[in-house]
């Protein structure tokens, strides 16, 4: 495979995005759903190319592009995410009067940004990928143009996001200053060989962590999350809760892993991340307790999950991190899909009160939503349980006992707010009429797929674990 072939997944996405943009002009407003099918076709081709490259040699463009199994694994996870998000958007957009073709093009562009991030070995290229992702995300968040909340979400995301990118860029500048390069390999080499590291090196690394900490929404860089998640169109919220997080963590893995084994004392970075992880788990779960808006609650819940994922980073167990992502993808998209299912023309049901009695009125939606919530809370036999179990047991093996105790207590707290929704769905009398539009086959397909995924991963995780093993064994560890 030559370097050009390695670009195929990326090229496919960009061509797809441009095609959607061109067609968008000539397609009538009520037919924009066709664009979704076109973009799904391109996503599938892109996925096909990724699968094709699995297990091949991985270094292209003079080591600037790493198409190792690790990158491919995350690419495929992200492609699946985007396909599912596209599916749940189709009906939603026409119901919520947001039927614009740019939507699908922007999703494809955001995905291309993420693919650049997971497969690049140069921090500047990663930054460019991040900006492609961010720019599309800002726009996507504000696509409900006549909704004040959506615009406000876009504004907050944009201002705070560019603020955070500025820190990231400055950190890159400092790292460039000390190592004369922006390649991850060279930077890490500098940290490994230099006996006394300069002030600038640490400041640079710290600012880079800040930049990615913003994307994965860990405390104290999480403040934007609930507002943006609440205001953005719901399928986009689902997308935000997985896509940017996954790439953020993938980059952190590439960046931080070599650090654990370097000669100089990595203790300080380690304890820093320890504190961030603990704070994220505690604060995310505690604030979620008070939420009555489902989207906002899920936003805090996603902050908390970022905390659990940090535990996996700290225990240096990439496979548990990746397994968590796969599970998280299915349970979170599933939960958001269930939230989207409860909607009709120009109306979404997002308050806790709306969910009273849903379990009996719409038994299928209620039951699947309950399964996703059980999975998010970490009950067996769902995937959420195994994911948490793998992360925490790896952490215990690494001696992070006190962090695991904090994590388990925090997830105990989380049981309360997840189960509260189930209590509302099954044990409360409805206070007002909730009727929903049920003609939504794509959405039900997604609900079913996610249900299948959550249960499959909870009961028979064997195959996925094998794939993850292959991916981990080939991380290009510079």
């Amino acid at each position: 495979m030559n370097s050009l072939n390695a670009m195929f997944p990326l090229l496919t996405l960009i061509v797809g995005a441009l095609l959607v943009l061109i067609l968008e002009v000539s397609i009538k407003r009520e037919n924009k759903t066709y664009l979704a099918f076109i973009s799904i076709i391109f996503l599938m081709i892109c996925g096909f190319f990724c699968v094709q490259s699995w297990g091949k040699d991985f270094s292209y463009f003079n080591n600037h592009l790493y198409l190792d199994n690790f990158a491919l694994f995350f690419s495929i996870v992200l492609i699946i995410t985007t396909i599912l998000v596209t599916l749940i958007s189709m009906k939603y957009l026409s119901l919520q009067n947001t039927n614009v073709g740019e939507y699908y093009a922007l999703l494809l562009l955001a995905l291309s940004g993420m693919l650049i991030m997971v497969s690049s070995s140069d921090l500047i290229v990663i930054f460019l990928g991040l900006e492609v992702l961010s720019m599309s995300s800002y726009t996507l968040a504000g696509l409900k143009r006549d909704d004040q909340k959506s615009s406000e979400a876009a504004l907050k995301y944009f201002l705070l996001g560019s603020f955070a990118s500025a820190f990231l860029v400055y950190g890159l500048a400092l790292l460039y200053g000390v190592s004369n390069s922006t390649s991850i390999a060279v930077i890490i080499d500098h940290f490994k060989t230099e006996s006394s590291l300069s002030f600038m090196a640490f400041a640079g690394l710290g600012l880079v962590i800040v930049g990615f900490g913003f994307k994965i929404a860990v405390v104290p860089f999480h403040m934007w999350t609930p507002d943006v998640y609440q205001g953005a169109p719901t399928p986009i919220t689902a997308f935000f809760s997985i896509g940017p997080k996954a790439v953020g963590f993938a980059v952190l893995v590439r960046l931080l892993y070599p650090f654990w084994h370097v000669a100089y004392d990595s203790e300080v970075i380690f304890s820093l991340l320890w504190i961030i992880s603990a704070l994220t788990m505690i604060i995310g779960n505690l604030i979620a307790l008070r939420q009555t808006n489902i989207k906002r609650m899920l936003a805090y819940s996603s902050i908390a999950h970022a905390g659990y994922l940090m535990v996996a980073i700290l225990s240096q167990d990439t496979s548990s991190l990746m397994f968590y992502f796969v599970v998280y993808l299915f349970m979170n998209i599933g939960a958001f899909a269930a939230v989207i299912a409860l909607g009709k023309k120009d109306k979404e049901y997002l308050e806790l009160d709306d969910y009273a009695g849903i379990g009996f009125k719409y038994p299928w939606i209620g039951a699947t939503f309950a399964v996703f919530l059980f999975s998010l809370a970490g009950f067996p036999p769902t995937g959420g349980f195994l994911a948490k179990f793998y992360v925490f047991s790896a952490a215990v093996r690494e001696g992070l006992v006190s962090l695991v105790i904090i994590g388990v207590l925090a997830s105990l707290v989380s049981v309360y707010y997840y189960l509260r929704i189930i209590v509302y769905m099954y044990m409360r009398e409805p206070t007002h009429e909730v009727d929903i539009n049920l003609e939504n086959p794509a959405l039900f397909l997604v609900l079913f797929l996610c249900l299948y995924g959550v249960l499959q991963l909870g009961i028979f995780p064997g195959n996925i674990l094998l794939i993850i093993k292959q991916a981990v064994s080939s991380i290009a560890f510079l």
């Binding site: 900006e131 720019m135 004040q148 406000e152 201002l159 560019s162 860029v169 460039y176």
Partner: protein, 100 residues
Amino acid sequence: MVPTSYFIILSAILFVLGAFAFFVKRDLITQFLCIEVMLSAANLAFIAFAKSASSLDGQIIVIFIITVAAAEAAVGLAIILLVYRQKKTIKSEDMNLMKG
């Protein structure tokens, strides 16, 4: 010749100024400009480092960053305009529909 450290100190001052101004200022456009200042600070640092190490990389990166800043300006101003159309204000403290 001016030593590199002078440039770095200048860029650090610019950066910190931008960051603090971002949360002191109450106007969306000004806040956005603060971010531009911070990016420029980074650009300055890149160029200074490139100069001192006499490598071209840093200068190329600057061009990338300027491009990114331009794209950000386009998206950002569009979003601010959108907000202004709805609320008839660009004061940042009026943007608090969602909280808690």
